[in-house]
């Protein structure tokens, strides 16, 4: 971990994600991330071996149940307090890809420097589910998953404010439209605050949806203006070997998830006439899914 104190670190847990890992690592390397702190939850597909060879990866390994540690939140909270104190920490899953304003021309350091200069400690995003139009090709190792999952929903999100934590609770998108239309309250939360100038007394309360202290959740403006923000492109809806393996093993805690996933992966299940093809961050900015705010 010899990156300078200004370099952002990525924190993530994964399990049997081997085909996804090379692109994941490369994507964030290209953005200029200084180091990866990763927790392997008992992978059996060679992903850990790949990571062990990477010079900028510190790998932790556990066999403990994923569910027991609230989906890895506790592990990562501990690792962040240990290695992320006073540093910009980006907490994502291996299928989440951060897009921020000017990310095609400015490294993540430009963003974090600017956030520092503006005395802003946290950076908010909307999770954007990307999905294929028809049947999904199987992801080749190292392949950009967005070559397969290119489509997204542009304007069907529902927002309420969570009074307890002060964060916005956002639902909607393709999954709500297709699989949760009759039970919308159960649709997954899409608000995430993945990038935080960490302090050891901070803690994520639920995934990266919200954290404490509450002030960190104020990544939105209530007076009409727009705060600088990004999107987390979600590459979940891509066929990979790993998912198959998971289904075969049929592990209790992943079983329901795997069945749900199979439904999503029915060809064309998520696509509709109004789906939009992903181009770049400027498109998302124009659609109102993220904002440059006053970062110009």
């Amino acid at each position: 971990m010899d990156a300078g104190p200004q370099a952002a670190f990525v924190f993530a847990t994964f399990r049997n994600e081997a085909p996804r890992l090379p692109y994941f690592i490369n994507y964030y390397r290209r953005l200029g991330v200084g180091h990866f702190v990763l927790v392997d939850n008992g992978s059996e597909d060679g992903g850990a071996e790949f990571l062990a060879d990477q010079p900028d990866v510190t790998l932790w390994r556990t066999e403990a149940g994923y569910g027991q540690s609230r989906y890895g939140v506790d592990w990562l909270n501990w690792l962040r307090s240990r290695y992320g104190h006073n540093r910009w920490c980006l907490t994502v899953d291996c299928d989440e890809f951060l897009v921020y304003p000017f990310c095609d021309t400015r490294p993540i350091r430009a963003l974090t420097d600017w956030l520092d200069a503006s005395a802003i400690r946290s950076f908010g995003t909307l999770t954007l589910d990307l999905y294929p139009r028809g049947p999904s090709d199987e992801l080749r190792s190292g392949q950009n998953p967005f070559e397969i999952a290119q489509w997204f929903d542009t304007g069907n999100y529902q927002i309420t404010k969570n009074a307890a934590y002060g964060n916005l609770w956002i639902q909607g998108g393709a999954r709500a439209r297709t699989f949760f239309a009759n039970t919308p309250a159960e649709a997954p939360a899409l608000n995430k605050i993945p990038l935080v100038k960490w302090h050891r007394r901070y803690v994520y309360a639920s995934s990266t949806h919200m954290l404490l202290p509450r002030g960190l959740n104020r990544v939105y403006e209530e007076w009409g203006g727009e705060k600088t923000s990004g999107c987390l492109l979600h590459a979940k809806f891509v066929e990979t070997q790993a998912v198959r393996a998971e289904e075969e093993v049929g592990r209790q805690e992943h079983y329901k998830e795997a069945r749900e996933y199979r439904a999503y992966m029915t060809p064309g299940a998520l696509w509709c006439d109004w789906s939009e093809k992903y181009l770049n961050w400027r498109q998302l900015e124009m659609l109102g899914l993220m904002s440059t705010g006053n970062w110009a």
């Binding site: 021309t105 304007g155 007076w223 109004w274």
Partner: protein, 563 residues
């Protein structure tokens, strides 16, 4: 006139870049005086000195600790000015720059520009009463109060001290004849001006005053040039933009083209890692050019980002913008129209409305079973679903999304007492909503069902109760929507006038389409039906005067409207 510019550089970070820029200035004949903040680590400072050691005309002044907003910055500048003026009698101008400033054009261009403006000081200098950028809430108080504490280091003391002075109404005496002015810290002043300022016998008294002023680096020289009546061009030669909090905008590699087009001499602040900019402007300097600066070109780009941050996009709700409903901020992105009851009296009203008013006309968007999108589609712009449960989970989000997703195309829809009632409150409060209602029109639909008054009596009562609540909400003083309500009786009396109103307020103003009036449903016998309801104890009062309708020969179709 022979111009020679000396450069004063205030540096406190990114010393490598400062060194690079100093060499660049130097290569073009500028002597340089550098002040490095005392917080720069000693080793780094020694590195800087050593790395520039081969250059004869580079000087370093004693290091001070510079706290933002305090006199220390002016003090450092003065020391650098002294050194420059004393060491280089041939220097005609001093250019104040920071380590994050980047020269965009050859010094020869700057020299020519200064030569055709002899004796002119380039310094932004605006009288405080005219300053539009009131930043940090301290305006004329900057000069009225004293500020012995550094804002960044001792925030609490700073705030307490300000409050205290406000409480006692402090008013520090301003030296005679001084009119406080403000402006960018980065100036280019003539030797004469700087000599006048430094040799004035009153200088100690003036300085005593400025030592306790807030942010003197943006007011000391800006005020002095006025005090001595110099020829001031109130404009900085350094392109520098500030955001709403007074924080300088940063330039990155992707600003290259914009910086080139600006024709500015110097820009700040440059991100230290913007190697594209440093390479372009330092390693491959541009040829000399006769063009003069065009800062407006840069202003536009940054004005947009300020607008995004302060006002944002109306009608947009997202992870970064969630306006509080009570703050009078636009609820939706564009105007739209809701038609209530028109489908009960007209055949195919949506088709007609779409043609006559050029609206994207939906059916009952808030219908109980499903969303009736235009064309019967199962999904619509933005990926909105026709599922009623999903819609009603957050009806406001549904409507605001619809309006946002269809910017540039006006939406219209049917609404009625069978539809999701909750959205009525939102419609009433939205200044973009235009609501047209024929009250009691549901009675016409019940009548046409042919079921007879007895069997629909209960439903009629429910619908009327629902509609009455909605209409009474529309009549509140707080309503911001444009609302027009006709009773069924009023409508039947003059249907063409009602249609005329719809077209005038919603249709295109020029090039109006020729469209026939819509056909009305056959309502022969409606009056009797309403009387039956009344006789059963259910008074359909929203429909208007039943007797009035009874006296009329209700036409099968509204007369042809000539538009």
């Amino acid at each position: 006139m022979t111009v020679r510019v000396g450069v004063l550089m205030l540096v406190h970070e990114a010393l490598d870049r400062a060194r690079q820029v100093a060499r660049h200035w130097y290569r073009q004949g500028c002597p340089i005086v550098i002040h490095a903040d005392s917080r720069v680590p000693a080793a780094d400072f020694e590195d800087l000195k050593t790395s520039l050691g081969d250059l004869a005309d580079i000087h370093f002044v004693d290091r001070r600790r510079c706290d933002w907003g305090t006199w220390s910055l002016v003090d450092a500048t003065q020391a650098a000015v002294e050194t420059l003026l004393d060491a280089y009698p041939d220097v005609t101008h001093a250019y104040l720059a920071s380590g994050a400033c980047l020269p965009l054009r050859p010094v020869a261009d700057l020299n020519r520009y200064l030569a055709i403006h002899p004796g002119v000081d380039f310094i932004e200098s605006v009288a405080i009463e005219d300053v539009p950028w009131a930043k940090g809430g301290l305006d004329e108080e900057r000069f009225r109060f004293g500020f012995p504490f550094a804002w960044k280091r001792s925030r609490r003391l700073f705030d307490v001290w300000v409050k205290l002075q406000r409480a006692v109404g402090r008013h520090r005496a301003c030296p005679e004849g001084l009119r406080p002015h403000l402006g960018s810290q980065w100036w280019c002043l003539t030797r004469e001006t700087l000599e006048t300022i430094r040799s004035d016998p009153e200088r100690p008294a003036l300085e005593r005053y400025f030592r306790r002023v807030w942010i003197p680096d943006e007011s000391y020289y800006q005020t002095m040039v006025r005090y001595y009546g110099r020829a001031v061009q109130s404009q900085s030669l350094t392109l520098s933009k500030f955001d709403h909090q007074g924080k300088p905008h940063i330039f990155y590699d992707d600003h290259l083209e914009m910086l080139e087009r600006s024709n500015g001499f110097v820009a700040r602040k440059i991100w230290p890692d913007a190697s594209g900019l440093y390479d372009r402007f330092l390693r491959r300097p541009r040829p000399e050019s006769p063009e003069w600066p065009q800062p407006k070109r840069i202003d536009r780009a940054f004005a947009r980002s300020l607008d995004r941050r302060i006002r944002g996009r109306d009608g947009l709700y997202s992870a970064f913008r969630f306006p509080h409903p009570t703050r009078g901020i636009g609820l939706t992105a564009a105007g739209y129209a809701a038609f209530e009851g028109f489908d009960d009296v007209f055949e195919a009203f949506p088709d007609w409305a779409e043609k006559a008013m050029r609206l994207r006309m939906h059916g009952h968007l808030f219908g109980p079973d499903r969303v009736e999108f235009a064309g019967g589609q199962s999904s619509f712009a933005g990926g909105l679903s026709d599922n009623a449960k999903l819609r009603d989970y957050n009806a406001e989000a549904f409507l605001t999304s619809l309006i946002w997703n269809t910017r540039g195309e006006t939406q219209g829809f049917l609404y009625g007492p069978r539809d999701t009632p909750e959205i009525g409150e939102f419609l009433a409060g939205d200044q973009n909503a235009r609501i047209y209602a024929v009250s009691g029109a549901w009675a016409a639909r019940l009548f046409r069902s042919g079921l007879g008054a007895q069997s629909v009596r209960k439903e009629a009562a429910l619908l009327q109760k629902q509609e009455a609540a909605h209409l009474s909400r529309l009549r509140w003083a707080e309503t911001r929507a444009r609302v027009r309500i006709w009773t069924l009786a009023e409508f039947l009396d003059q249907p063409s006038e009602v249609l005329q109103t719809l077209i005038e307020e919603n249709g295109p103003t020029v090039d109006r389409p020729m469209v026939n009036a819509p056909l009305m449903h056959d309502l022969t016998g409606l009056a009797g039906f309403l009387q039956d309801l009344k006789n059963l104890g259910m008074n359909p009062h929203l429909a208007g005067d039943v007797a009035e309708i009874a006296g009329q020969d209700i036409p099968k179709a509204a007369p042809r409207i000539v538009l």
